[in-house]
Amino acid sequence: MSPFSRRQFLRSTGALAALGAVPGFLGRALAASTASTGKTLVLVFLRGGADGLSIVPPVGDPAYRDARPTLALAPPGKDGGALRLDDVFALHPALAPLLPLWSDGTLGIVHAAGLPGATRSHFDAQDFCESGTPGTKSTADGWLNRAVRRAPGPEGAFRVVAVQPTLPRMLVGGAPAVAMSSLGQFRLPGGPGGSAAFDALYAQAVDTALRTTGLETFEALREAGSAKLAQLPAANGAEYGGAPIARRLQDVARLIRSGVGLQVAVTDMGGWDTHVNEGSEKGQLAARLTELGSALAAFARDLGARWADTRVVVMTEFGRTARENGNRGTDHGTASVMLVLGGGVRGRRVVGGYRGLGRSALFEERDLAIGTDVRSVLWEATRAQLDLRDASAVFPAFSPGAPVLG
């Protein structure tokens, strides 16, 4: 049985409002004592259905070029060509900043990852990826919240953070989680004194969701203020650049480096729904990948020694059609690619059970077929970072099978 915190208690039972007025200093003291040894799981969700077949193109598959006359990337060595990973796979050239991580073994790739019971609806597919229960829509909480609820760990206000304006579905549930657009904007005028009255008002709120959110908010505000989190500069010469995903990952790095006990961070990135003019080595998709690749590379560099305790999983809700459509783009498909980065990853490998783009190998004669269940990859990273044992508590009715990258 994992520790059952006061805030979890409030969340799950809607207990007496009076309890809410007790400040979380006990929790913060605990956080401070355990944070420096803690591990962190970072999830980056590419919303819109990212095209795995262009991100990690199977340039060694003869069917690849036939399926994508204008979108296929040139083979390694050619001008603007993809970057060789092994005999079959290459990396999109816009992801060149990730090559050092590939070389030092802290980047591994799972190709042909997907969820069973394919749905080509963004909404449903994201919902299933985040509830962790494909095919079941009535699941109330998110898989990552279930994981956190069962994990031992620090009890600080910044234990679970989503750096995005709204809390993602995967973090909905009994365990408290903070969502914020950015650390810089997470403050109130007048400093700690200015927020004290609101703290008290929310402690008395009748609406349970507002009361518990208020409690989390004011605890986090106190902590962010005292640690001056938003001002922490990048270390080791890391250069993030100005892309939104870079700024978000920099905030995650700040939380990790300042030792506030960050155990789980989630962020997302849009712009992957490339139905029209997807582009090849340049263009729409390449622009997104440039942002993503350089942000991840800067993040790894910024973390320095803490990179070893960090694991990043990059995922999307589904892949795209094997063949390009009539608009030099791709439509909604099935399996895509997942990137797993960080310490403890046995990387420098593309795994996952890719079965090729030949007509008979395709799912419903149109999509890359699933070789690995997304949940296996998520579970592997979650187990490692959150020190969990029981997969079925996180992903009901699912057994993770053999290790993927572990």
Binding site: S181, S195, L201, N327
Partner: protein, 548 residues
């Protein structure tokens, strides 16, 4: 007891007074001053309820308007909710010239897409035309190069800025409050994002031409207007979808694109569980091939391209569509979808979520869906069924919804009888709370339910907004502050009543009194005067003001 309350709500004397007023004003002809409808329509029959007149009025304004303003509250209390709702259901009868006059300054609001493209060209295009080469090494350097060349108020972003400002002005000040709430609902239902390419110029005509004229008509007309609109055709890529094997002169081989077809079924009509298959998606996509746009970056009007259309026969939801139908194929699909039982349920449920509660009872949804079906998707009849339902008037519906950022900011301005010009600080506040208007990226639009809006980052942004608004630091948005004469307890009670429309709980009251310094005593023994900005900021940021 019920009968008495019912009578109270119908407020017969007030209704009669309204008749008198209307007669007087119809001869007067001072439109901006008219405060009552020219023709009093029949009041809606509402179920009995145990709430006070003020409670009923507040509930109606919380849901059918952007919260109570002092004026609107008085009006609903005077005529009764049934008559007020009936009035709101006929927006053409409501004089709104004061707001229209305020919008006259926004040149872009009345323009066609073609005019907008010509009047608000991309900066690069302007620079190119003037022979300026943009070779700056950083974004700042490029901006500096553009500074002397481009008029910042003639760029594409101005179209969005004016549309956002107009939305905020209308939401806060329009007397057609229900219409403005429905614009928000239906735009969101048929979402397009101004962030996607040429949509930036099309989004303003889209709201004006496809959404606004059809809010109270039939669902089929609304659906059709949206399906024909270049903003939707561009946003969901249908303009580029052609029959398989089609080649265009400069663009090479084209083909089918499923994007619009899928969202039409999943998000616009049947709902994801509405009983369609992947095969239906493809067939629907085939039906809509050729529904395109004339030169999207130049003209931007609807155009059917017969050559790109798939002329074969199709089968959608088990219904055969014979070959050679041309553009009519798409119309047939819309006919089929607009009256489908799944559509009726899907639309009814979403409306119930918006107007009644996040998890509406299935019986309510079913009842409203039956009205939708019986009336062939008559939207006014559908709304009426919701507003007349016992569920709408139930205790569990009252103050049960968390305001969206738009609802929160606008209701704050209205609560104090203030006004907004929809300037940058107001817009930035919405962005921080997670609702940049007209820029929801996914076709699902913004969530209708509370959960995604309640989180620490958004809460901080809400509290911050309330404090800034009250202390006059939100340029372009102003609220008058309440008088603070009298004993501090009186001032707090009076102000809380005016903003929250309910008495404060005892602990909350004590907290507020302490926070505004009511207990502090000056050296001469006098009690310190309450800072009204501090008081209002506290109340707007309080949990009670986040609900509606």
């Amino acid at each position: 007891m019920f009968e008495d309350l019912d009578l109270m709500r119908l407020a017969l004397p007030a209704l009669l007074a309204l008749l008198g007023c209307a007669t007087a004003s119809s001869g007067g002809g001072a439109p901006a001053e008219v405060s009552t409808p020219s023709r009093p329509p029949d009041a809606l029959p509402l179920p009995p309820v145990r709430w006070s007149t003020e409670e009923q009025a507040v509930h109606v304004l919380d849901r059918l308007a952007y919260g109570p303003s002092p004026d609107d509250l008085r009006r609903v209390e005077e005529v009764g909710p049934g008559a007020w709702i009936a009035w709101q259901l006929r927006p053409a009868d409501i004089d709104d010239s004061a707001v229209e006059k305020r919008l006259a300054d926004f040149a872009s609001l009345g323009m066609s897409t073609q005019e907008l493209i010509a009047s608000y060209p991309r900066a690069k295009k302007v620079a190119q035309a003037k022979g300026v080469i943009l070779d700056g090494k950083s974004p700042e350097a490029v901006r500096a190069q553009l500074a002397g060349v481009v008029n910042p108020f003639q760029l594409p972003r101005q179209v969005g800025a004016e549309l956002v400002a107009a939305r905020l002005i209308r939401a806060s000040a329009s007397r057609r409050q229900l219409q403005e709430v429905l614009v928000d609902f239906w735009f969101n239902h048929f979402n397009v994002s101004a962030d996607k390419g040429a949509v930036r110029w099309m989004v303003s005509p889209y709201e004006r031409e496809a959404i606004r004229p059809h809010l109270f008509g039939s669902f089929r007309e609304l659906l059709g207007a949206v399906a024909h609109h270049p903003a939707m055709l561009f946003y969901l890529d249908n303009w580029a979808s052609t029959r398989e094997g089609f080649s265009a002169p400069k663009r090479g081989r084209l083909g089918l694109n499923e994007n619009y077809a899928r969202e039409l079924l999943e998000l616009h009509t049947l709902g994801v569980d509405g009983g369609y298959t992947q095969q239906d998606v493809r067939e629907v996509a085939r039906c809509f091939t050729g529904w395109g746009i004339r030169k999207p970056n130049e003209d931007g009007s609807f155009e059917f391209h017969p050559g790109a259309h798939d002329r074969g026969s199709k089968r959608v939801l088990g219904v055969g569509i014979p070959a050679g139908g041309g553009m009519e194929d798409g119309e047939r699909v819309l006919d089929l979808l607009a009256t489908h039982p799944s559509t009726a349920r899907f639309i009814s449920r979403k409306l119930a979520q918006r107007f009644v509660m996040d998890t509406p009872p299935p019986e309510l949804v079913e009842r409203v869906a039956q009205v939708f079906l019986r009336t062939n998707g008559d939207l006014t009849a559908t709304y009426r069924a919701l507003f007349e339902s016992p569920e709408f008037w139930s205790d569990s519906a009252r103050a049960s919804k968390v305001k969206t950022p738009l609802e929160f900011t606008v209701s704050a301005v209205r609560a104090l009888g203030g006004s907004t010009a929809g300037d940058v600080p107001m817009v930035q506040a919405l962005n921080r709370m997670g609702q940049p208007l007209y820029r929801a990226q996914p076709p699902t639009g913004w969530p209708e339910v509370a959960q995604p809006w309640v989180n620490p980052g958004a809460l901080v942004a809400r509290i911050d907004f309330g404090l800034k608004l009250a202390s006059g630091r939100l340029t372009g948005t102003e609220v008058p502050l309440p008088a603070v004469d009298g004993a501090p307890e009186e001032v707090v009670d009076r102000t809380a009543r005016a903003i929250l429309h309910r008495p404060l709980g005892e602990t909350t009251r004590t907290t507020v009194l302490a926070a505004v310094g009511a207990s502090e005593v000056m050296p001469d023994g006098e009690r310190r005067a309450i800072d009204p900005a501090r008081l209002v900021g506290l109340l707007l940021g309080a949990p009670e003001f986040q609900n509606q």
